[in-house]
Symmetry: C2
Subunit: 583 residues, 2 copies
Amino acid sequence: MTNIIRMSSLYAPTLKEDPSDAELASHRLLLRAGMIRKMGSGLYTFLPLGMRVLNKISNIVSEEMDAIGAQEIIMPILQPADLWHESGRWEAYGPELMRISDRHDADFCLGPTHEEIITALVRNELRSYKELPLALYQTQMKYRDEIRPRFGLMRSREFLMKDAYSFHATQESLQETYDDMSEAYGRIMDRLGLQWRAVEADGGQIGGKVTIEFMALADAGEASIVYSDSGYAADTEAGVCIARPTEYKVDGIEKIATPGVHTIDELAAFLDIPASSTVKALSGKDGEGRLAVLFIPGDHELNELKAVRELGGFTLLTDDEMTGFGLKKGSMGPVGLPKAARLVADRSLQGISRWVVGANDDGYHYVGAQLGVDFEIDGWADLCEVQPGDSCPVSGEPLKGARGIEVGQVFQLGTKYSEAMGATFMDEDGSEKPFIMGCYGVGVSRALAAVVEQCHDEHGIAWPASVAPAHVCVIPLTVNDDTVGPAAEKLAAELAELGVEVAIDDRKDRAGVKFNDADLIGWPVQIIVGKRGLEAGTVEVKHRRTGEKKDVSLSSIVELFTFAHKAVRQGVSPLTAYASILQ
Amino acid sequence: MTNIIRMSSLYAPTLKEDPSDAELASHRLLLRAGMIRKMGSGLYTFLPLGMRVLNKISNIVSEEMDAIGAQEIIMPILQPADLWHESGRWEAYGPELMRISDRHDADFCLGPTHEEIITALVRNELRSYKELPLALYQTQMKYRDEIRPRFGLMRSREFLMKDAYSFHATQESLQETYDDMSEAYGRIMDRLGLQWRAVEADGGQIGGKVTIEFMALADAGEASIVYSDSGYAADTEAGVCIARPTEYKVDGIEKIATPGVHTIDELAAFLDIPASSTVKALSGKDGEGRLAVLFIPGDHELNELKAVRELGGFTLLTDDEMTGFGLKKGSMGPVGLPKAARLVADRSLQGISRWVVGANDDGYHYVGAQLGVDFEIDGWADLCEVQPGDSCPVSGEPLKGARGIEVGQVFQLGTKYSEAMGATFMDEDGSEKPFIMGCYGVGVSRALAAVVEQCHDEHGIAWPASVAPAHVCVIPLTVNDDTVGPAAEKLAAELAELGVEVAIDDRKDRAGVKFNDADLIGWPVQIIVGKRGLEAGTVEVKHRRTGEKKDVSLSSIVELFTFAHKAVRQGVSPLTAYASILQ
C-alpha cells in the first residue's frame, strides 16, 4: 500500500491566473493552488490538498484538547428552537442565525455555537459536584448567515470550528480549566507555525465576561490590536484605553472665533496644535433616555460599547435631537451646557488642566477652559477605543499596533446559560446550584487561511511542515527518461517508508510547470531529480520557505530525512528539522 | 501523556432502566450505555464513548477509500437550490429534502446526498479523458426530513455518511471503479465485524440502474432480503421473482359457487388447496390510462415498481373505477374480461396449465381454466415481489429469507447528472461527452447501530475489537486498597504502553456496579484485579462476547497482550487476536 501522493492522479486543478473576486492572499492562493473551490456565496469545498491541511489542523486541535482531558463528542448541527427560546437567544441572535423549519413546521437553527444544546445535554444527567469539572469538545461545521460573505475562508457562512464547553462547581475550577485551555490554544497556535498574540477581548454575543482572543498577526486581519513588549495585548474594541492628551498651555480661558471649523481636524489645523490637544464632545441618550455628553481626547474615537456599559445604554443623538436639546453640532463643549445633561469625561483628560473645546456657540471655541473653574463634570470613565501610541496599562510604555485574524477565543461564561436553562448540580453542602460554565472555540478553517496569510510569497503558499499537505515533493525533471523517473520513484518510496509524507510530480509536464505548481502548492521541501545531477550522484533540495537550494548526494538524502524525521518524532518542530536538511 | 480512559472522569452516564421510547436493541443499549443522547426528534449527540466508536468506523471507511485511490474532500452541507433545479431534483425530491432560505431569500437545502454539488464542482475543471477516472469522497452529516424518525440512529434526520462519487470516460472504467468500491465495501463490512450480504437493489431517488446494497443481517432490519447458497442475494423490493405456483390438476374447466369468498385465503380454505394453487388478479390503469389486469400466483404480492416499469406506469383501480369498468372485486379472472383490457401474467404462471381464478361473477370462481382454450393473455412479465421459497435465479434452489439493515450502497449513475447539468470532458477523439458517473455511500452512524444489533446480549453491547471504544477495561475490585488500586494502575499503564487501548474503572463504586457497566458498555476484554487474585499473582480475564473467564498470571498478561497486539498490527483480526488471550 502506498501513501505517496501522485500528481498525475491528484485532483488539484491549479490556476495560472488570479481569480477576479479574491482580495486576500489566502483566498487567492488557496483557489489557485487547487485547494478550495467556491460553491456559493460563503460556501466552499475543500479539494484533496486543502482537505489534507484541514485534517492536519483539526488533528492538532484534537490532540491538544485530549491532552488537557477534554472529551470529544458530536452534537447535532440542527438545533431545536425550543432550547434557544429558553436561553433567550432565538430573538437576540438576529439575522446571522440560519433558521429552518421541518415538515411539521417545527423550528430549528443551524448551530453557530452550541451553548444551548450542551447545557440541555448535561442538565438532569450531570448531577453531582463529584462529577465536576467536565470539559467536552467537538469539531464540526458551523453556520453564520453573514450579510456579505467574503475573504474566502476568513468570513464564510459554513466553517469548520472546534468548540469546547466546560462545567464547574466553583469559579476557581473554571479558572483552572480556562487557563488549561488558554495554554492549549497557545500550543495550537505554535504548532500551526503562527505568529500570534493572546489579546483581551470582548464577549460579544456569547456573553462571557472574561475572555481572551488568540490572534494570528496579519495585515489582512479584520481585527485591530495593540500590544507592548510587556506582554500586554488587546483587541482595540475591548482594551482599556489610556490616551496621552497633550496639554495646550495657556494662562486663562479665551473664547475665540473659529469660522468654518466643524471638525477636530479643522480645529487643530486652525489653531496649529495637535488633535491630541483638543477635546471632542459627543452627545447621546443614556439607558434611561436622558441627555449625556461625553468628552474624549480629540485624537481618539469613542468606544460605544464602553459608553453603553458606563451609562447603562448609550445612543448618539441625531441632528434633530441635538437641535431639540439646544446643542450646537461642531461646537459642543462643557461650558454652558443644559443643566440637565450628564457630563462624563475620559479618564485620560485628568492629565490636562486646560481644555480646547467647543463654546456651544456656532463658529466659536474655548481655549484654556479649566475644570472646577469654568465647568464641572459628573464623572470619569474609560470611554475611548484604544489605539497605538496610548499607554500600556501594564508597563506604561507606548502601545504598538497590529492587525490580527481571530483564530481562537476562550470565554468564562459564568452561569448565564445554566441559570436561564435551569441546569443545576448538587453541591457538597446538598444545595442545588447552577453550573459555572466556560466555552472555547478555534476556527479550524479560518486557521488554515491565517496560516496562508502568514506563509506565502509571490510564488504561492509556503506551508509549515506541521500542516503541509505532505512534507516533501519529489520532482523528476523528465518521466520518460530511463534513469530519472525510476530514481525519483525509488527515492519517494524510500522516504515514504521512513514515514515522511511524500508527493511525487509524475506528470508528463515540462519542468517549469512542475516548479511553478510546487511553489504554488507550497510543499515545504522539493527534491529535484535530474539527469545531470544523477550522473554526479546528486539531487537538488529546495527549501520552499527560504528559497535556499543545495545539491545533496543521493546516498545521504535518505539519511538526512531519517535524522530529521526522528527529530520531529522527538518533538523538534518539523520546520526546524526539515530546514536542517539544507545545512 | 496518558491515553487511558478513566471511568472516574469519563462522561458516560449509564442508565439502569430501559428508556421507554426505544424499540430496538441498538437504540436502547446505546442510550443505556451512555453513548448517545436524543436532542430532538431524529437528532442525536454522540457522547465520548459513542464518539470513539463513530471515529473508528469512520477511520476504517476512510482507510478503505484511500486504499483504492479515492481522494478525500469536503463539500458544503448547505447546497444552493440552483444546482438542484438543474438536475430537476428540487421538485422531484419531495418533503424529505430539508429546505432553508438565507437572509437574502436565496434557497438552499441541507444535503441528503451530493450528486449535484460534485457535478458542479468538476464541470469546467475536469476537462480531459486523461484526467479520468477520478473518485472523490467525503464523510459528513447528511439530512433527511423523515416523516417519523425512529429506531435511534437507524432512521434519524441527521446522520453521518461517507459518500463517494466517480467520473469516467467509459462504461468499462465505471465498472472497474464500481467493482473496486464494492470490494472495499465488503472489506469495510468485514472489518466492522458484521454478518452481511451484498444484494441486488433498486436505485430509488438517486437514479442508478445498476446497484448493490450492503446489508447487515439483523432481525430488526427494515429491509427484507432473499438469498441462496449460490451467493445470490436480493432486496425483496428489487429482486427477480421466480415463484413456484402449485398446479391444481383437474381435467376441464368448472365454474363453482364460492359463496362468501372474497380473498385468496378464503378461496384456498374453501377449496382446501394451497394459496400457491390460486391465481390473484389485480386491475389498474397503465401509463396511458388504459385498463390493465395483472395475474400473479395467489401466494405472492404485486411489486408495483415492476408493474410500473412493465406498463409504463400503473395505478390500482379504486372500487368505483372497478365498478365503472364492470369488474367484480373478489371474483376477477381472465375468462370474460372486457375486451379492451390488457392482460399480463407473471412469468411463473407459465408453469401451470390450469388456473384457479375468479369468474368475473360475484360468488363464483373457475377451477381448471386453461390458457389458449378458455382465455388469452397479452404478455408475460416479472411482476411479483420475491419471497422466501421462490427459486433462486442463479441456482434454482429455494431462496431463504432474512432481514437486513442497509449499511452501504453502490450505484452506477451513468450520465443522468452530467447530462442534466452539462458536465462534459473532451474524449480521446476530440469530442465532448458527458461524464459517466458512479456514486457510493456508507451510513457511518447507521453502521454503528447495525454493529450493536448484531453484537449484544441481555447484559449490553459486546463490541468487536475493531470498533470498540477501547480494547480492554481494567477493573480493580476496590480502589482504596493498598495493593489492588496500584496493581490495576500499573497493569493499565503497561498495556497502554504497548499501544493497547485501555480503560480503567477507577471509580469508588461497588464491584457489581462496575461489572454491570463493563458488560453494558461492551469492552471486548475485562481484566478484573482483586485482592485474592493478587495474592496468588493472578488477575481474571473475561471475554465479553463469549462470557469466558480465566485466571491469568500477572506476569504473563502483558506478554499475552504484546503477542495479540503484534498480531493485530500484522493484520490478524483484533477479535481473533484478543480472544486468543483466553486460550
